[in-house]
Structures are given as C-alpha cells and as structure tokens.
C-alpha cells in the first residue's frame, strides 16, 4: 500500500482527489441545502459537450469543461429580479439546457474521430495521467473556492434558506444565486475530469447527503461533508489501484453503502427511542 504512493501518478491522483473532494463536499452541501441537485446534475453533464467542443476547436479538454459548465451555470441562474429560482418553470428550463448539452455533445462527436476511444474516460473518469499543470490549477482553485465560501458562507446560507427575508435585509440574493451556480459549475468541471461526467455526483451529492443526516449545524455539516468526500476518494483510489474496475465504480458503491448504513442505523436508533418512550 505504501508502495502505491511511490508512483508519481498515484501521488498526483491522491492530491487531486483530495482537493476535488474538499471542493465538491463543501459546494455539494450548499447544493443539497438549496435543492439544486437537478441543476448540479445538468452542470455535470455539460462536461460532455464541453470536451467534444474542445476537441473540435483544438483547445485543451479542461478548458472546454470549464467554459461549458460556466455557460450552463449562467443559463440556469439567469432570472428576472422579481422571480425566484425555484419557480415552477425552472426545472423545465434546466432540463431543456441538459438536453441541448447532450445533443451538442453527440453532434460534435461526429466531427471528431479521436475522442471515440476516450468516451469511456470522459463519462466514467480516470485517475491516471493527472499532470503537474492540472495539479497546480486544482490547488489554486481549491484555495480560491475555500476562501470564497468562507467569505460568502453566511449570506449564502441565509439566501439559500430564506430568500425572501435575505432580500428584505438588503442581501444581493440574485447575485448570490448566479454566483453560486458559477462556482458549482467550475467545481463540477474540475471534478468531472477525474470522476467522469456521469459520476461527478458520487462526490457532489453523496457526502453532503450523509453529512446532512449526521449534523444540523451548517459549518460542521460542510466540514463533515468534505471529510466524507476525502475518505471516499482515498478508499476508492486504493480499491481502484488493486483492481481492474474504474475509480467511479468504487466511489459510487462505497458512498452508497455508507449512506445506507447511516440511514439504517439512524432508523433503528430512532425506532429504539420510540419503543422506550
């Protein structure tokens, strides 16, 4: 196991995985709080058209991921000042954006011949071949995301829970809405490079879902969520290193198993309490 870490590619994978787990665990906590899981999922699928577009245009894949996710975040988050994001048509709009993203991705796939072999990687992820540049970008990004969340955390919790009152006390709720989605888009794009477009959710939803069951304190919830994400990615890396199955398989299965265990333990605990009372 120690030997596993002597390979540079595994060192890179562990560092990158840790950073990504911290970012997606934190932002995922807000995403679950804000009930924007469908929006998050749509953002995660945007890395597919983003990557194919990047190949066709001839820019780095990662750039395609980021541009596509940020554009989609703006498209989802844009709203009239008087409307709230949770209006009846908002999920229909998000769904439409998702479909357009998929269609664009597949259409562009036709123009590009050399991506076909990599489609698996694009969808299900790879932890091999993370280079130094990617790593430096990830380190910088994690620092930026953590500082931003630390600075806007309180107002963002307020605006997420209670947009009416937050607006009444003068918080820029609209800017927070769209700013959060852009931040989420950036993190999703980064995460998708490792977990693949389809399995971003393993790190974005499962850790916060578990954390919200474990604690009702906001700051603690974010930290627990990030911690679970980190543990999850480390375990998955170990499993993936010693087996032939892809990383995403382990991340999703282990995450799901932990979630089920927490639910079952909590159910039986509250069941016991009910019997005693």
């Amino acid at each position: 196991m120690i030997q596993m870490l002597s390979y540079p590619f595994m060192q890179h994978a562990v560092i990158a995985g840790t950073l990504i787990a911290v970012m997606s665990g934190t932002l995922g906590w807000f995403m679950v709080l804000r009930r924007q899981i469908f929006a998050g999922h749509t953002l995660s699928t945007m890395s597919f058209p983003g990557a194919t577009a990047a190949l066709v245009v001839g820019i780095p894949l990662a750039m395609g991921y980021y541009v596509a996710c940020i554009c989609a975040a703006i498209a989802i988050g844009w709203r009239a000042p008087t409307r709230h994001l949770t209006g009846p048509l908002s999920s229909a709009r998000i769904g439409t954006i998702q479909v357009v993203g998929f269609a664009t991705g597949f259409t562009l796939l036709g123009y590009s011949t050399h991506i076909l072999g990599g489609l698996d990687q694009l969808l299900f992820g790879t932890f091999l071949g993370i280079d130094r540049t990617q790593l430096i970008i990830l380190i910088a990004m994690t620092c930026v995301v953590v500082v931003i969340i630390a600075c806007i955390g309180r107002p963002l919790v307020f605006a997420s829970l209670d947009p009416e009152l937050a607006e009444a006390v003068g918080l820029p709720v609209r800017a927070l809405d769209i700013g959060f989605l852009i931040l989420l888009g950036v993190v999703v794009a980064a995460t998708a490079q490792i977990t693949g477009a389809l399995l971003v959710f393993a790190l974005l939803v499962t850790p916060p879902a578990i954390a919200q069951r474990l604690t009702a304190r906001p700051a603690q919830g974010m930290i627990v969520s990030a911690g679970i994400g980190v543990a999850l990615i480390w375990l998955s890396l170990i499993c993936a290193y010693f087996s032939v199955y892809p990383l995403g398989f382990f991340t999703t299965s282990i995450g799901f198993a932990v979630y089920v265990i927490v639910v079952v333990v909590q159910r039986s605990a509250s069941g016991l309490r009910a019997v005693h009372v």
Partner: protein, 287 residues
C-alpha cells in the same frame, strides 16, 4: 380620535404615514392612508385579500415607493433604518429547511447578512455577546428547549416562535409581521398572539401585524388599520370594525355581528371566505 392623530402626533412615533398613496401600473392600490404606530403599540392591518395590506409593509420596508403623501419609519425615510426593523415575510421557503438547527435559523437574523469570516481564536468576546443575544431571544419566545433540534422537525407553532425569535434577535424598534397566524390552528394562533403581545409590551417594540381575521387578535390589539376599497381607517377595534364604519369604507352595506365574548363577524364583504390550511398543532407530544 386615533384616526385623526396624524395631524398632531408626537414626534416619537415609530411609523407615520400621512395621506399615503400607492400606485401599481395604472391602478391605485390605496390612497389617503394614514397610520401611526408608537413604541409598545400592537396594530393589526386588516382587510380583504388583495386590498394592499402587504403592500403597506413593502412601503414601510422601503421596497415600494409612495406615489403620494409621506412615510417615515423610526424618524427616517422608509428603508434607511432597515437594521432596526424585524420583519417576518409571509410565504417562506424556510419552513422546508429540514436539516438546520432552530438556533442557527435565529442566528441568521443576527449575523446572516455579514460577509467574511472570523479567524478562529479572534473576536471571542463578540461571539459570546452574539450567542447571549440569540439565547435571550430564544428565552423570550419560550423556545430554548427545542432550539437545538432541526427546524424542519418542529411543529408549525414552534417554527413560528423560532421565526419570531429570529425577527427580534437584533432588538428591533419595530416589528412587521405578514400573516404570522396563517396556517396555524386556533390554540396555536392564540399562543402566538399572546407571545407577540408580550414581546410588544415588555420590549417596547411597535408591532404591525397583517391578518385576515381580527378575532384571534381581539384581546391583544391596541388598534387596527382596516384597508378596503382603496381606503383605510385607523382606530381601536370597537371604533373601526362596526357596521357603519365598514359600510362607509366598502361603499356597500356591511354588517358586523358581535358575539357575547366580543368576537366579531363581518358579513357582506366582497372577499371570498378564507379557508385555513392547517399545518401542525403547537403540540407538546414530541418525545
């Protein structure tokens, strides 16, 4: 008498609206509205649906301009002293906040709008003061024993108490409550009204409460502002909610029946009867 007091009102009124007119698009919501609220005074804003009750709150919060007349809130233009106003909006997404502790919801009322973060180990005196303020608000509404529980697990009445604690945690001079009794059952309504009355008297906070039914409030109110048909009437309940006053206000025959216990039934208003959606009772049966 109270209806005339805007001419000579003492300068310490928390809210003073004189001949206020609000126009939305081409239609006038109401005009020539006069209102005065003093510290420790509990005023209900009544009237049929769509008469512009919530609009008045928006004016006082500085979120909607007057087309005519003048308004002053805590001695300044509406919106200028926003930090000194506790506000409880009507329909809020927050009741769905399942997994946040009640005490954190109250905390948002104090520090929710603060940007940045406190470096661990610094500002502990301030943090302690804030914590004390939050606990004081929780004590005041009698919610301390469930403050550590998740907000979404609380009953409708308990949630309303937490939200009132959130609105008063900054020790505001003035409290605006938009339909706080909506979707609560009758015993819970009575206990929330008693709480608001207590806060109003003991903290010397001026309270403006929007309601569609005066009866749960009767024993607690100092005065009402009845808005209907684009006009408004301010005064004590037994001065304003009478057959002759309301008939004049609506411009059609209205009958007010008074029951033996003082409850009033207004008959003949053009408003459709309002059906309550019941949430939970203010039950103490939680284990």
């Amino acid at each position: 008498m109270a209806g005339e007091s805007h001419h000579t009102g003492s300068p310490s009124a928390l809210v003073r609206v004189s001949h206020g007119t609000v126009v939305r698009g081409t239609s006038t919501i109401w005009s020539d509205l006069n209102l005065e609220v003093f510290p420790g005074e509990f005023t209900a804003i009544l009237g049929p649906n769509g008469s512009g009750k919530s609009t008045l709150l928006q004016v006082l919060l500085g979120r909607m301009p007057l087309a005519g007349g003048s308004a002053e809130v805590i001695g300044a233009a509406p919106g200028a002293r926003r930090a000194d106003i506790g506000y409880l909006p009507q329909h809020r997404a927050i009741t769905a906040a399942e997994r946040i502790r009640a005490i954190d919801i109250v905390g948002l009322g104090l520090t929710g709008a603060r940007w940045g973060f406190r470096i661990p180990g610094t500002g502990t005196a301030e943090a302690r003061r804030e914590r004390a303020q939050i606990h004081e608000a929780l004590d005041l509404v009698g919610a301390s024993h469930y403050a550590q529980r998740a907000f979404g697990e609380l009953s409708g009445g308990e949630q309303q108490r937490i939200l009132i604690a959130q609105a008063i945690v900054r020790k505001p001079a003035f409290l605006l409550l938009d339909e706080p009794l909506d979707s609560l059952d009758l015993p819970t309504q009575a206990s929330v009204v008693a709480l608001i009355r207590e806060v109003c008297t003991h903290q010397q906070i001026g309270v403006l409460l929007v309601a569609h039914d005066v009866n749960p409030l009767l024993t607690a109110l100092d005065q009402v502002l009845y808005i209907a048909n684009g006009h408004a009437l301010q005064g004590a309940v037994d001065q304003v909610i009478t057959s002759s006053q309301l008939s004049a206000l609506f411009g059609m025959p209205i009958e007010v029946l008074t029951a033996a216990d003082g409850r009033r039934v207004v008959i003949g208003t053009p408003d459709a009867p309002h059906h309550h959606g019941h949430r939970h009772s203010d039950g103490h049966g939680h284990g």
